[in-house]
Structures are given as structure tokens and as C-alpha cells.
Amino acid sequence: MTTPHATPRATTEGTVYTVTGGDWDEVVESAVKSDDERIIVNMGPQHPSTHGVLRLILEIDGETVTEARCGIGYLHTGIEKNLEFRNWTQGTTFVTRMDYLTPFFNETAYCLGVEKLLGIEDQIPDRATVLRVLLMELNRLSSHLVCIATGGMELGATTIMIYGFRDRELVLDLFELFTGLRMNHAFVRPGGLAQDLPPGAVDQLREFIKTMKKNLPEYDKLATGNPIFKARMQDVGYLDLTGCMALGATGPVLRSAGLPHDLRKTDPYCGYETYDFEVPTADTCDSYGRFLIRLEEMRQSLRIIEQCIERLEPGPVMVADKKIAWPAQLALGADGLGNSLDHIRNIMGTSMEALIHHFKLVTEGFRVPAGQTYTAVESPKGELGVHVVSDGGTRPYRVHFRDPSFTNLQAMAAMCEGGQVADVIVAVASIDPVMGGVDR
């Protein structure tokens, strides 16, 4: 049967109906006539529960998914190419917008790479490193909160969504206080940070930790033991260790298979080896295990943040080498945060050489010796690796991000095939792909 909404097309595997909307009865009728229940459903790229513009192509037999494929690229932004036309410092502005839920991880990974190429890892001030850790752990909290919130919403649990965004707002308040922006900060720069913490930041941070310690158990009360929640999550999105290793899955997906692999422990950066924290694992290989791991990671992040506060010693947040340190002295003006007028007056008025130096550094940027490097950080989603290539110029020659969402999303088919249609949503939510990171 042919309707304008469901055109049949003969393939080697039988008739395929392309459904583009229209009268459901007609669609069903034509599907019944073909006397099997195999339907290919196209979820997305605009779908309320596919985590952004992810497109899922599911072949379903009744309620069972027999085959599942992803269509990605609907948010491809060409960030890696754009980076090649901006100088090294400006690069942070782009990378922060890749995986927009984990801006500080993108920035830090990129900056660690640039610093390694420059050979200045040892010159980064301690305060900058501690603050990077602090910001990354805060960011881990906010990313996991969004994962749990949207994951809950996709299950139909709107309360957990409201809770998650409530607590995320607390983290964003801190980000705004520290960096001036709620998202897309470009705060971590090659050589250190854009600026120091504002006065009163640490007090507010302590206040935040107190609130979070009160709020985090609420997720346990709300969800962990909830029979509906467990029924939807347990044994759904199953991927064992062999599958994880083959598919390169990292982060909570890998840890839910029981392997405590966390780059913060196994390949430490930013001095993580000196912090006291644990890597939670589960042995259930399912979505529920991943949920529990995320909850526990948030508690561990709070522990790290507390240790960071203790380690914060006054000092510079940018390398002393003025050939690299971006001459930013920010101040709040009438039109928002911008260059400090005092600083500009100082450069313009006192020294011709300072003015030239400032001009050269801002218009040209610094040069990075030719070579390549790979640096990886443990983002909330897994191993976020950056392959930076320099040709000795003022701009990156090539920057490639190995985004954990991209790699982990490959596991979607393995997790979903053979399961129910409704479980696809749960499995995808448990991977926590962010399309900005997947497509870049």
C-alpha cells in the first residue's frame, strides 16, 4: 500500500517503508500487510530524548531492537579547522565550546598540550595548577549533575531533573564568580589562568561544599533505592569489560565494568597523584552501575575540592615568562569585564618597549617549537585526549580532540541491540554523550 507518507521501496531484504509522518493507521496497516513487524524507526536528529542532535536509526521487530545505528555530524562545527587560523592563546576560546558541559577539561587538556610543546610544564605556578584542578572538579560535578538530570528526565523523572539543575546552578554561580561566565569560559590559558580568584571566592566555595554535602544525599534518597528507577536502569545498556576495551570506551562506562581505570590515577597530570581520592567502580556493567559511579564521583570531587582549598597559597597564576604570558589584566568596567584601564594606561604611558611587546604578543602571539604531543585528561565522560601539532608558528598546525563522547557513543549499538525500544534511551543516557564533543 502506498501513501504519500509511507512510500515503500523494494530492497534485497524486503520492502522498506520510509515513514515521514501522516496517518498512523495507514502506516500500521501497510506494515501489517507486509506480514512482519520489522520497522525502521528514525529517532532524531531532533528528538526530545536523544541528548541533543543525535540521530538513532533503529530496526525494530515489535518492541525489540534488532539493529541500531547512530547518525552523527549534525553539530559538526569545524572547530579543529578554525583553531588553525587563530593564535595559540585564542585557541582556548574555541576548545571550550567543544564539549560544552566540560569546558574546563577541554581548556586544560589543550593548554597542557601547548605547554608541553613549549616545554614550560615545570614553570606553571602552583596556584594555577591547584586552581585548574579545583575548576575541573567543580566542572565534573556540574557535568555529572546534568547527566543525571537529563538522564532522569528522559526516563520521565522530572523531579530529578529539577534537582540536578538546581545544584548545577550553584556550581555555575561559582564559575561566574571566578571567571565572569557561566559557560564557555576560556579561563585556562597556555601558561596558567586568565586571572586570579576574586575576593571572597574561597568563602563562597566553602559555603557551596556545605550545601552540596547536604544536597548530594538527596539523589540517593530520590533515586538509588527507587524501585522504578532500578527497574528501568538495572541490566540495561550492558557492556562488559571485553566490549569496553574493544570499543575503546573509557570513563564511567569502563569503570562500570569493574576496571578502575582513571587517568587521574594511572597517568596523573596537574599533580593529581598528590590528592587523596578514590576511583569508584561497579561490577554490574549496566546503566545503574554508571549512575552509582557518577554519584560517587561527585562525592570524591567534593573531597578533592576541599583539598584544593587547603593548598591554595597566594601567588601568581601565570608563568613568569612575559614572552608567553598573555598580558591580560581584567577589571570590571561599565560595559562588563574587560581590559583594566589602569593596565592599559600603564603600558601606553610608561614604556615604549612594553607597548611594542604587548602589541606583538596580542597581534601575533607567541611561537611554539615544531613538534607534536598528546595529552589526555580524565573528563567526566572518559579519556579526553588532545593531539597538538605545531609547525613552529604562532598558530596551531593541527589540533585533534579525541573526545570520549565520540568514542563511547560507538558502544551504543552493542548496548541496545536485542533490548527493548524504551531501553535505548536509558542506554544512550548512561553513556552521556554530548553532541558538541562528539561532532566538534
Partner: protein, 243 residues
């Protein structure tokens, strides 16, 4: 590029011509003038300055740390398989505390499988492939860079394979590391690297009917000039720039 990327299957050794070898540092670019400006004059008086940019060249033994151990094990394991290490490993670069093996592309799969399976090497996790397009590196323009991580030993190494622009074929590693499926599709999409033996080498990010490979260096950025109130600002790749 016109042939079917999947035609060779596992017999990629048969028709892949070895890429030209280069054991020294690869010259990737020639900088001219004082500031490397790409258009406009150079008023510094150093306009005639010509400098070549070279990537770090081959290192000599000892490499230091666990690098020697990995190199020994790899060479030993390859010899056991009757493959002369010198044929497979073009050169070994140690730079910025990172170990890079430049692998001849016809031996890539065997080397990767050895790296994965040999108990003393055990690089279980591949973090995908990153394409790099060195326009100035004649005959070796396209590089595919793989990073392999060993969870057992806590190590990470880099494999680098190159192919000329005129014959952009590299054997696929999907059979060894299934995770490379999407990564190789991405490298194909952006750089036109054809991974022989990949199960379904199609575009992944760009629309299926897209022309060209957008992240190659000879593909323009594609930005448009921005107009506003009598002013026109050229796209980032059209502006005067220094390098």
C-alpha cells in the same frame, strides 16, 4: 581515490606501494621574511630571510626510560614473525618525553596486532586516529597518527604512518582495534585518507554529498566576509597573518 576503498579487503599488502622514506627530520614548511606574513610587504629589512621548519628527527639509542624496553620488545616480536624491524619501523622519534614509531604503512596492521597482543607490550587501548596534512612534506603529505595506551603497563606510545596525497591509502586498524571504526571514518571524512579494509568507510561528520575533504590544508576555511555599517572584515583565513 576512484577505486573502491573496500576492494582490497585484507590483501592491502598487495597493492600498497611503500611511501618514500625519510629518516631525518621532516621538512614541513619554509618560513619567509621576518614575521612570516602571508601577504603584504615585509618592511623589517629581513624580507629575504628563508628558514626551514623541521619536525624532530630520528633518535638514537638509548631512548631512555621504558622506551628502550618497548622498542626492544617490539623489534624482538617482529623478528619472531619473520619481519625485519627495519622494514616495518622507518624511524623512532623521541621528543618531549613521547615515543613515536614511524611505521611503513604496508606493515601497520601487523605491528599494531603485535603491540596489542605481545604480553610485554599489551597496548590494549587505541585512542583513535588523528589525520595531519603536511602540505610541505612532499611525498608524505598525509599522516595518520595513532596513540596506543597500555593499561597493563601504564604506558602510551604513538604510531605515525604517512601516505602521499596521490595515493592516500593506509590499511585499516578496525580488525585490531574496533574502536577505530568511527575514528577512521572521521579521518576519511576530513582528510580523504582511505583506510583499506574498513567495513564501511563513509562520511561521518559532513553530509554524504559533500565535496572535498574540509580539514586538508588546501581546503579553504570557508568563512565569509562580515559586513557591518560600511565596514567589511574578511574571513579569518583571508586576513593578513603572521606565522
Amino acid at each position: 581515490m576512484t577505486e573502491n576503498p573496500n576492494a582490497n579487503g585484507d590483501e592491502h599488502n598487495a597493492n600498497a606501494v611503500p611511501a618514500p622514506r625519510d629518516t631525518g627530520g621532516e621538512v614541513i614548511r619554509v618560513r619567509k621574511g621576518m614575521f612570516g606574513a602571508n601577504n603584504g610587504g615585509d618592511t623589517s629589512g629581513y624580507g629575504g630571510l628563508i628558514r626551514t621548519v623541521t619536525l624532530p628527527g630520528a633518535a638514537s639509542r638509548p631512548y631512555g626510560g621504558w622506551f628502550d624496553e618497548v622498542a626492544d620488545e617490539l623489534e624482538g616480536a617482529l623478528e619472531e614473525q619473520d619481519l625485519l624491524p627495519a622494514n616495518a619501523i622507518e624511524k623512532t622519534v623521541v621528543d618531549r618525553d613521547e615515543l613515536t614509531f614511524h611505521i611503513a604503512r604496508e606493515h601497520l596492521v601487523q605491528v599494531a596486532r603485535t603491540l596489542r597482543d605481545d604480553p610485554a607490550l599489551r597496548f590494549e587501548l587505541c585512542t583513535g586516529v588523528s589525520g595531519v596534512h603536511f602540505l610541505g612534506d612532499k611525498g608524505r603529505e598525509l599522516h595518520a597518527v595513532y596513540h596506543l595506551r597500555s593499561l597493563t603497563h601504564g604506558r602510551i606510545i604513538r604510531l605515525e604512518v604517512s601516505a602521499p596525497d596521490s595515493d592516500p591509502h593506509i590499511p585499516s586498524l578496525v580488525a585490531v582495534y574496533p574502536t577505530n571504526d568511527w575514528h577512521e571514518r572521521e579521518a576519511y571524512d576530513f582528510f580523504g585518507l582511505i583506510f583499506d579494509g574498513h567495513p564501511a568507510l563513509t562520511r561521518i561528520m559532513m553530509p554524504d554529498d559533500w565535496q572535498g575533504f574540509p580539514q586538508r590544508k588546501d581546503y579553504p576555511l570557508g568563512g565569509i566576509a562580515v559586513e557591518y555599517k560600511g565596514a567589511q572584515i574578511p574571513a579569518p583565513d583571508q586576513r593578513r597573518s603572521y606565522s
